[in-house]
């Protein structure tokens, strides 16, 4: 059995660890709130934009006279997927439970199953970059240590270059793999095709409310400025989801760690008290038997 000193030392070290995990939990809670606020703030914009895009696309599809221009074509009509661009979003730091493991597992499965060649890989976060290296994939774009305010720039870069690649025929689709934010306690790794976009599937049962708008200066130019914006917004939303998920996962992991540390301290304290009591009893017995003798 370990001596009293050793147990005291262990209790102290577990207490220190608990303080660290508690602090990390608090920090994650604050960061989670920030990410979540941005996500919540973006949602009305994203849903309005989606509505507008759907209306314009509906108008153009409904009118045989309007021929969609090249940019509109590229975002809407799917080609056979031979080369794709993939954006993989994980975190920079660990200690967040299954957050990275889950999303990277999804990425591995996607890479194995997907018939198309991954022509261009972007990684967001150190863990994603490590995954790429492990799987012998070269990441053309690495975005590491991006603060919350820097996400917009990343999004603009990716969507602009992806659109150019699509038009040049280098890629046929843009996919993103990230953690969808269900709640602070639960995240789901998600594979999402950003474009060509799948508007029909999402717009089921919404055609009844359609009003025909005048599109000024003309339907095509409206659509051509609208669609890149839509792609950017979707990407930004996905990155924010991932960021909120990360902090949520870390908060949950650190909460568990703090609880475990608490339990451990309680157990160790009990053992320590038992040993102390045992040694006191021993000493008394010694004195008593000495007096008797």
């Amino acid at each position: 059995m370990a001596g009293l000193q050793d147990i005291r030392r262990r209790i102290r070290s577990v207490k220190n660890t608990q303080q660290v995990t508690k602090a990390m939990k608090m920090i994650s809670a604050v960061k989670l709130r920030k990410s979540q606020e941005r996500l919540v703030a973006l949602r009305p914009y994203a849903s309005k934009l989606m509505e507008v895009v759907r209306r314009v696309v509906g108008r153009i599809k409904g009118d045989a006279e309007i021929q969609p221009g090249p940019i509109a074509q590229s975002f809407l009509s799917p080609r056979e997927e031979q080369n794709i661009r993939l954006v993989l979003v994980a975190s920079d730091k660990g200690l967040c439970g299954g957050f990275n493991a889950n999303v990277l597992k999804a990425a591995t499965a996607f890479a194995a199953e997907c018939p198309a060649k991954i022509a261009h890989l972007d990684v967001v976060g150190k863990r994603a970059a490590e995954w790429a290296r492990k799987h012998k994939l070269t990441a053309a774009g690495e975005y590491l240590n991006i603060p919350l305010t820097g996400l917009q720039r990343v999004v603009t870069e990716i969507s602009a270059s992806a659109a150019a690649q699509y038009q040049a025929g280098e890629i046929d689709a843009l996919y993103i793999i990230y953690n969808y934010f269900n709640s602070p306690m639960s995240q789901t790794p998600t594979v999402f095709r950003v474009f060509p976009m799948d508007l029909d599937r999402r717009s089921e049962g919404r055609h009844a409310t359609e009003v025909s708008h005048l599109l000024e200066p003309d339907p095509n130019s409206v659509l051509e400025t609208l669609l890149p914006r839509f792609v950017e917004t979707e990407l930004l939303r996905n990155l924010l989801e991932s960021s909120a998920s990360e902090h949520g996962a870390r908060m949950a992991a650190m909460d568990k760690a703090s609880n475990n540390a608490g339990e451990m301290i309680a157990k160790l304290t009990l053992t320590m008290n038992k040993i102390r009591q045992a040694s006191i009893t021993n000493q008394i017995i010694e004195i008593v038997s000495g007096a008797n003798a």
Partner: protein
Amino acid sequence: MSQSIKLEVVTPERPVFSAEVAEVQFPTASRGYYGILPGHTPVMTEVGDGLLYYIQEGQKHYLTVFGGFAEVGPDHVTILARESETMDMIDLERAEASRQRALKLLKEAQTEHDIQTAQAKLNASLIRLQAAGHPAGHGF
């Protein structure tokens, strides 16, 4: 027909404004300013950079808008702006500093691209100054 329009201005950062107003005017990218009264025909168009005003209880109020889209209906105007600010969000000192910076950039600009970026920055700062009623904005 309703006598008011629901004006909503949202940016990716935050919902900026949402209320019932009597009249709205906003800048478009290609066709100058659009003035909207209740009962307007549905229109969708690209928004330019500039000042948006709305009239609420007889008072004229300004917002800045930078790019984006507008969707107009008989009883609502929804502006999906790239950026937008209400008056109290504008930091006069920052706008003035950014105007000075833009002017300096414009002087030092070498390429066409430099000139354009500097010009855009200058425009943005002037719009903000004008919105806040600063004298420098009125040269715009």
